[in-house]
Symmetry: C2
Subunit: 159 residues, 2 copies
Amino acid sequence: MEIERKFLIAQMPDRLEEYEHADIVQAYLCIDPVMRIRKHGEKYVFTYKGSGMMMREEYNLPLTGEAFEHLLPKADGSRIEKTRYLIPLDSAGNPLPPGVPTEGLTAELDVFTEPKSLVMAEVEFPDQVSAQSFEMPAWFAKEVTNDPAYHNSNMSKNE
Amino acid sequence: MEIERKFLIAQMPDRLEEYEHADIVQAYLCIDPVMRIRKHGEKYVFTYKGSGMMMREEYNLPLTGEAFEHLLPKADGSRIEKTRYLIPLDSAGNPLPPGVPTEGLTAELDVFTEPKSLVMAEVEFPDQVSAQSFEMPAWFAKEVTNDPAYHNSNMSKNE
């Protein structure tokens, strides 16, 4: 079970390229349930997610590169391409400098190049209480957790 | 983890239609790993199976009817259609009469109509020891556990 909140970004962290990051290509075979194929760096994974917004049953299962290439033409709509940066946060939710480990939360900062330019951050929480008590730091612009337009699966739909 | 052995059939059980049975339609999005969609009676399920012959990591995850219909045109090759009969076995591996519960094993007897006519039985075992000690009863003709030609995923391939 994952508990996460999503935010648009007001200000990018300094020294962004020094944070741990990886290129991601993903596409969707189905939206409900979500059936996603993803290349994450040199790893390939198939993900199934059940229904629901903030809490969703999720399975991540291994794929080969051959299976990924076989499944990619079967996907609906557009593929998504983005670079994911892992940004460790201090207790106020602000970015720690690159290389400083966090004792708390990490933001996944996604810089999309396909199907359009967009920057979005996801924060995963260990439980409901910490998710609900998290206050939006100033470098986040707006919460979009409950806006379906910012589900990656909907972003992949052709207009 | 499932441990199963597969057999061709020498003699069909008497009173076959009185055993519990259901119509199955299934097709494959991918063969390695196996990614299968199935309609089983009125239920829809997506199955992922890792590599290996007799023991394979398997996940069965729910689909909606809409998701099944959405995914079916994405499948490779031919769809498989079969009726599955559940045949309770006595301690010698012979069919118990319809309606008699088994304290032991059950054979899944698959009568295929698509892509071709074929009858095959699978027996699932609780552990390796019982799988290895099972002796083939006379109503089974031949073991095909390790013959890839009798994997449903290979049967779906277009010749």
